[in-house]
């Protein structure tokens, strides 16, 4: 086609290829980490440790998915750490009063969604900056969680409450020679399966649906989106509700793993979620971001923690290292974009 010829001065990479380079760089970093830890610790590259890492990463990933959607609209959700605690204790309290476990967890997840809806309404109707609205919600939700539990863990929930967090699919156990059970294959934990399913769903939502496209449009240029007929407020509220629902689910999974409702769970988790999204190439300025990147980002954090633990690095040093990783990945990203 004659009109598709390249004119000088406009010879720049289309975003797809740039995106690929970014993802490749993050993926290469991930592989490098795995290689490095395999060499320094013999227990790192084992099946059971792999499962442990995936399990630990899954919680960052749930809220990371929500954070990605919100950050793409150039917003931010600081409340997820508290919201997940509130959702988890709501589910636990529901079980205590006799609600069957699946319904109790649904109530918990919906509580998270409700927090997200309030965030969205404050941001769109009261026109407060997302930072302020969700900072407020962070305190309100944490306070609620502590108040309704009297700041005490909710226990005595029964084994079925722990099934979601502790169960696995395809777990293969045989009886060993000594009569003790022997784990042939540790199985895939339900939280990991949930993570994969949710990541695929959210990725499809972002890439293939009009809702997803509108998230990018709002983040790229909100006024242009509004003048194009995008229902900006509805879409934004949708993003925060999604983030709240995922936080709610994350809370249920975490509490299920502990088989206890912990009102103090999830402190500072929102920072992990934001870090995962940012390491994965999501721009805080909005309009840019992908789920594959966020999942890679979540695994980078998860593997760093796990590998450093195995090498006996103290948790304080771990914080320093992860902090530096966040700074340097975003720096590299900006260097690349500046060209």
């Amino acid at each position: 086609m004659a009109t598709l010829e390249q004119s000088p001065g406009e010879a720049k990479l289309p975003i797809d290829r740039k995106d690929l380079i970014q993802k490749f760089a993050a993926l290469a970093g991930l592989v490098l980490l795995i290689v490095a830890f395999s060499l320094t610790s013999s227990a790192f590259l084992t099946m059971s440790n792999g499962v442990t890492i995936a399990l630990q990463t899954s919680t960052i990933a749930y809220i990371g998915l929500g954070a990605t959607c919100v950050i793409i609209t150039s917003g931010i959700d600081l409340s997820v750490g508290s919201v997940l605690a509130l959702a988890g204790v709501v589910a636990a309290l529901a079980v205590q009063v006799g609600v069957p476990v699946p319904f109790a967890m649904l109530i918990g997840i919906l509580a998270g969604g409700a927090c997200g809806a309030v965030n969205g309404l404050i941001i769109t109707r009261m026109k407060l900056p997302p930072f302020i609205a969700t900072l407020g919600m962070m305190m309100v939700a944490r306070g609620l969680a502590l108040q309704i539990t009297g700041a005490r863990p909710v226990s005595g929930l029964g084994e079925s409450f722990g099934a979601l967090g502790n169960g696995s699919l395809w777990r293969v156990i045989t009886e060993g020679d000594n009569g003790f059970p022997k784990v042939i294959f540790p199985g895939i934990p339900y939280p990991v399966i949930l993570m994969i399913v949710l990541a695929v769903i959210v990725a499809v939502v972002l890439r293939k649906t009009t809702f997803g496209r509108h998230l990018y449009a709002i983040g790229s240029n909100e006024e242009a989106a509004r003048l194009s007929g995008v229902k900006v407020n509805k879409v934004k509220i949708g993003a925060y509700v999604l983030s709240g629902l995922l936080a709610g689910l994350c809370g249920c999974v975490l509490m299920s793993r502990l088989v206890t409702g912990q009102p103090n769970e999830g402190i500072a988790y929102e920072l992990d979620a934001i870090a995962a999204a940012v390491i994965g190439g999501t721009s805080l300025a909005g309009g840019v971001g992908s789920i594959s990147g966020t999942i890679i980002g979540a695994f980078i954090i998860g593997i760093l923690r796990n590998g450093l633990n195995m090498n006996g690095v103290s948790s304080f040093i771990q914080m320093i290292i992860i902090g530096l990783v966040i700074i340097s990945t975003v720096w590299i990203d900006q260097l690349r974009n500046r060209k």
């Binding site: 000088p8 009009t210 989106a225």
Partner: protein, 516 residues
């Protein structure tokens, strides 16, 4: 670089005994895959206004960046006051007397005018900023421009035109010996332009050399001494302005002769009214705006900056609230509360600031084209990639958007092509009435012509076209009738063929008023 020893091979005093203050000689600048500047020359005398003309992408801005030290040349040299210079930052260039006023404003909105003018070089009293002295000094420069701006005003409280004047005051305060002005008049009113030109004459007589970049060729004759033309990164010629005509300049810029600035109209208005607005009011900004639009007609909105043209269009479109008024499309009165409602009825508004509110610059051409009508390429909320790509490709071909791919990110396109993408967005929506707000601002001559042709084509297809523009030649060249605004009111609706610039200006300035 390799050329240090050659700096004195040519005498600095040039033709006519006039002294050259700044010259760029044989400048070559390469970017990966692109030769941005190819052996370009520019010679500026003291006390001269030197116009630099060329289409967008001709390399004017790149050359200015080489001169002010933002880019280092790959070959060639910049000679300032007889010495070869290498500036590593704009600050370096500014310190020796070279100042640039950018097309985009570089002001900090939350600081005062004085704080902006002295940003980074605040007068001090001990450890503290001497606010009194700063404001008094700033006021002197503002008063020289005869603009009614107080040095203590916050920049965000000023209109764009006034902010432009602050930029100019800032340049004056730097005591520049070389002043580069990039499209300084694009947002100024006639009287502000007059005042700016007086200042330019004053600076000239003080020996300041001025490089003047503008797309408004007709205003050059009022100030310019010589003109240099660039095309596609190359140097075309430098001539005395008195020896050339505007047509010569345009021909040299585009590399072909443009017979006329405007295409011959193919469309002609019929009798049936397709769109009507009655008694539109908007708090403080518009009152009782009424007009009709006929099939095949291009209707102009004329008026000075802030006369209420954009404000009326935005209220019709639902982008801003209206307090009263009826909007009638095809005989049906519409209720429009938000842009969504207008868009669903087939009314579209192309905003005057593309980057601010027309285009999602981080998104691709494809995504921008389908943004207002995603439903047409999706089913059950899922976007059909193949259908979307086909739609975008068709639109790119129809509007002749120059791009390697529909997946090109919008910010990498030239201004003209960006505008075409925005138009494509609304054509894909099957709009019935389109409001074009300053569609050719900041676009080069060749691309303007393409936009004009497109407006005409849309009108001939039966789409109602409203052209809001500050360029009177555009009104006269393209419209059938013109609605003239003054302070939020319609002063008159004129047949374009029977009017002229002077009459339109009389209505626009409130001197004349028609009984409507």
């Amino acid at each position: 670089m390799t050329v240090t020893s050659q700096s004195n091979t040519r005498p600095t005093a040039a033709l006519d005994g006039r002294e050259s203050i700044l010259s760029a000689k044989g400048v070559v600048k390469r970017f990966p895959g692109v030769l941005a500047l190819d052996n370009v020359h520019l010679d500026l005398y003291r006390g001269e206004v030197h116009a630099l003309c060329g289409e967008n992408g001709a390399g004017k801005s790149t050359l200015m960046k080489v001169i002010t030290g933002l880019y280092q040349p790959d070959e060639g040299q910049v000679v300032y006051k007889g010495e070869q210079r290498h500036f590593s930052t704009i600050q370096d260039a500014q310190d020796v007397g070279i100042t640039i006023i950018h097309q985009e404003l570089n002001l900090v909105p939350h600081l005062t005018v004085a704080e902006n003018i002295y940003l980074g070089r605040e007068p001090k009293k001990g450890w503290f900023v001497d606010k009194k002295k700063m404001e008094a000094d700033a006021q002197v420069y503002l008063d020289r421009l005869k603009v009614n701006i107080k040095a203590s005003d916050l920049v965000l409280s000023l209109t764009v035109a006034r902010q432009q004047m602050v930029e100019i005051a800032k340049a004056l305060s730097l005591n520049a010996e070389v002043l580069i002005m990039d499209e300084p008049t694009s947002s100024l009113t006639e009287s502000e332009i007059d005042r700016l030109f007086e200042i330019i004459h004053e600076l000239k007589s003080q020996g300041v050399g001025i490089i003047y970049i503008s797309h408004r060729l007709d205003e050059l004759k009022r100030i310019v001494d010589r003109v240099t033309i660039m095309r596609d990164g190359g140097y075309v010629w430098t001539k005395d302005f008195g020896d050339v005509t505007v047509d010569d300049i345009v021909a040299a810029m585009v590399g072909r002769s443009l017979e006329e600035k405007f295409p011959e109209r193919q469309s002609s208005p019929s009798e049936d009214v397709i769109f009507e607005v009655k008694g539109l009011c908007r708090e403080k900004l518009c009152s009782n705006v009424s007009f009709t639009l006929r099939r095949g007609e291009i209707l102009g909105f004329a008026g000075l900056m802030g006369a209420g043209r954009t404000e009326a269009a935005r209220a019709i479109f639902g982008a801003d609230p209206k307090t009263a008024g009826e909007v009638i499309l095809g005989g049906k009165t519409l209720s429009i509360a938000a842009p969504v409602d207008a868009i669903e009825q087939g009314i579209a508004y192309l905003s005057e600031d593309r980057k601010l509110n027309g285009l999602a610059v981080k998104m691709t051409i494809k995504e921008n084209v389908t943004m207002a009508n995603l439903a047409a390429v999706s089913s059950h909320g899922f976007i059909d990639d193949a259908r979307e790509a086909r739609a975008a490709r068709e639109m790119v071909a129809k509007l002749s958007v120059k791009t390697p791919s529909i997946n090109q990110v919008a910010k990498n396109l030239s201004g003209g092509n960006q505008q075409k993408v925005v138009i494509g967005k609304w054509l894909f929506r099957d709009s019935k009435v389109l409001f074009f707000d300053e569609p050719t601002r900041g676009i080069d001559v060749g691309a303007k012509f393409a936009i004009y042709q497109l407006l005409d084509k849309l009108a001939s297809e039966g789409i109602g076209v409203v052209l809001i523009t500050s360029e009177l030649p555009e009104i006269l060249g393209m419209t059938d009738r013109v609605v003239v605004f003054h302070e939020g009111e319609v002063m008159g609706i004129l047949e374009t063929a029977k009017t002229n610039q002077e009459e339109i200006m009389q209505y626009a300035s409130g001197v004349k008023r028609m009984a409507l």
